[in-house]
């Protein structure tokens, strides 16, 4: 019952957040300079043609009217059509006139759904790698607060957080895929293309996990119930893995919710460098081409994912530790 109430409240709040986000992005796109119509009709078109197309596309109406129209479509699950991408998948070249009011432009919903699985795959693999790196280091560091393990955790974390992701990506491409030919790097033709970008992302996320794990495990190990478990004669393995880790997990789960936007930002840059066909790559191309409907669609999708994951995170934190207030 409590969980149901929590879900209803949080989903309502989440919807509000998505609406505010969409309004911010929607207004921002139209307020900053840069006219998509100019890019669509090409640089040589006379100004009256630009105005005509813009009026036809509804881009000269007041922003609030445009937003109302957009939201009406959104409620019916319609995110609009891309300005630049025809259905066939080819991108319209600059200057080549494609009438964006025609119905043969790709649906934003299709564009996003097509690429979302790739991005989720990359994000999931990155998270898995990050956990594989940081759990051994973090747990050892947390258990031996004054030993070399803690120094190792501290050093790893300081080093990893200081490596710029794009630089690491370039260096890894140079060594692992060009010099040693171990892993493919650019594009996507199968699962092996995920590994290198996921590794780079993992290096970006791992330091936060290591830091939280070391600190919270260190605190939990000082707690009276750990001493009591020792008195009861439980093995050290049992104490660490089923008592201490479970309690140290709550800050960790919360951290994942907060660091999600770092992860999304990292995904965007990494996809761009590795030419990986995910949402991030689509974002960069769309921003450069001023493809308003696609940018809005992506912003709404990411904020919805963000809200959804944060609800899951709070729920999981509650299930792990019922003392957490939800």
């Amino acid at each position: 019952m409590l969980i149901l109430e929590f879900l209803v409240k949080r989903i309502a709040q989440g919807l509000l957040i998505v609406v505010i986000t969409s309004l911010i992005i929607f207004t921002l796109l139209r307020v900053v300079p840069g006219d998509p119509v100019r890019l669509i009709v090409g640089g040589m078109a006379p100004p009256d043609v630009v105005e005509k197309v813009a009026t036809k596309m509804g881009l000269r109406d007041p922003i609030i009217v445009q937003y109302g129209r957009y939201m009406r479509g959104l409620i019916q699950g319609d995110l609009g059509q891309s300005y630049l991408r025809p259905r066939s998948g080819m991108i319209a070249a600059g200057g080549q006139y494609v009438d964006p009011t025609k119905s043969d432009m790709a649906l934003v919903t299709d564009l996003i759904l097509e690429r979302l699985p790739f991005t989720l795959q990359l994000g999931g693999m990155a998270l898995l790698f990050a956990l594989l790196i940081s759990f051994p280091v973090g747990i050892a560091g947390g258990l031996h607060q004054h030993g070399w393990q803690n120094a190792l955790a501290f050093g790893t974390q300081s080093l990893f957080v200081s490596i710029p992701n794009f630089w690491l990506a370039i260096v890894l491409i140079l060594f692992l895929s060009i010099k040693l030919k171990l892993l493919p790097a650019l594009g996507y033709q199968g699962f092996s293309y995920v590994i290198l970008p996921a590794l780079v992302l993992a290096v970006e996320i791992a330091p936060f996990i290591i830091r939280t794990l070391t600190t919270s495990l260190g605190e939990v190990m000082q707690a009276p119930f750990i001493d009591e478990a020792r008195v009861r004669g439980l093995s050290r393995r049992r104490i660490v893995y089923s008592h201490a880790l479970r309690n140290a997990a709550v800050p960790l789960v919360n951290l994942l919710g907060i660091q999600l936007s770092t992860l999304i930002g990292g995904v965007l840059v990494i996809e761009y460098i590795f030419d990986y066909p995910g949402l991030g790559n689509l974002t960069v191309v769309s921003v450069v081409g001023r493809d308003f409907p696609v940018i809005q669609g992506i912003a709404i999708t990411t904020s919805a994912v963000f809200v959804f994951i944060n609800i899951i995170v709070d729920l999981v934190a509650y299930l792990i530790d019922p003392r957490v207030e939800i």
């Binding site: 505010i20 900053v32 957080v161 200081s162 490596i163 794009f166 370039i170 999304i264 974002t283 990411t302």
Partner: protein, 305 residues
């Protein structure tokens, strides 16, 4: 006894204690080897980037085509003592370009974090202290802002307006404040119910007086210690923007654009991209070492360990 003497009497030991807590944190951090290493490396880089470009006659932007692709000293077939770390594809000195890049990187990082700190903590303190619907409105906006990844916001704005140092700083600050607002808000909510705030209210102190003179000095220093870590984060973001072509524009060197340009020459002249990357990584490591030492010291002092 008048009201003012009561406040003064209460204030004095409190101020003394605050100063001593912050001093103790600094002293504890200074005692760690990681803080000292970070501090000296950082000072060395800072001095190098401040002094060397001023006294050296080498230019960071002048192209000398006959000197192109010179390797760092002793590391290639072709090198000279004039260019210690080699030259790039247009014969420009890499050491000089890296140092100038470091200057801009530090400038953007520090100014952005100060701005974020002021905006985020200001809004957070206000929301947490006022409560009610102020709180609801400000925190919902914060959540919305938090759910738009910084990079999407940044490339949306910088993709169309010509990126200059002030616009880059504003964009980064705009997308960075929400976390600070959250932290400051939860601290302010905890502080609101405390004895001394109720005491001050009884004495007739207004909201702003309590907030700025008494609550803020309690809440902000612990947040400020950790803000050092964000200087490094912002420097990375500045470099990422430069890499995407949305940072400080050429011919002014910045780490991101240098590394982006170097991709074409990676196989023949590895140093063009690698050396600025190492410079950036060393600078970031030094800041992160200081930041995490401060954070550790803070947790130790506040945790009473």
């Amino acid at each position: 006894m008048t009201a003012t003497t009561v406040i003064a009497a209460e204030l004095e030991p409190r101020l003394a204690r605050i100063r001593s807590v912050n001093r103790r944190i600094l002293a504890a951090a200074w005692g760690m080897w990681s803080f000292k290493i970070g501090f000296f490396v950082f000072i060395a880089l800072l001095l190098a980037s401040a002094i060397y470009p001023e006294v050296s006659s080498v230019s960071a932007t002048k192209m000398v085509v006959k000197d192109k692709f010179l390797a760092p000293v002793y590391l290639g077939d072709k090198w000279t003592w004039d260019h210690l770390l080699g030259t790039d594809q247009l014969g420009r000195d890499i050491l000089m370009r890296s140092l100038i890049g470091l200057r801009y990187s530090l400038l953007v990082g520090v100014v952005t974090v100060v701005l974020i700190f002021v905006i985020g903590c200001g809004l957070g303190l206000f929301a947490g202290f006022k409560g009610k619907w102020w709180d609801t409105i400000i925190m919902r906006i914060t959540d919305a802002q938090l759910s738009i990844p910084m990079i999407i916001l940044a490339i949306t704005i910088l993709g169309v307006s010509r990126p200059t140092v002030p616009t880059i700083i504003i964009v980064l600050a705009l997308s960075g404040w929400p976390l600070y607002a959250r932290v400051a808000r939860s601290a302010a909510v905890a502080e609101r119910g405390k004895e001394y705030v109720r005491g001050l209210r009884v004495l007739g102190a207004g909201d702003w007086r309590i907030l700025l003179l008494f609550t803020a000095p309690n809440i902000l220093p612990p947040i400020a210690f950790v803000a050092v870590l964000d200087v490094a984060r912002m420097m990375i973001f500045e470099a990422i923007l430069g890499f995407l072509g949305l940072g400080i524009q050429p011919p002014t060197p910045s780490f991101g654009s240098i590394i982006a340009d170097s991709r074409k020459y990676l196989l023949n002249a590895w140093w063009i991209g690698t050396i600025p990357g190492i410079f950036l990584a060393v600078a970031l490591t030094s800041i992160n070492l200081m930041g995490s030492a401060l954070e550790k010291a803070r947790n130790r002092i506040y945790g009473g360990l």
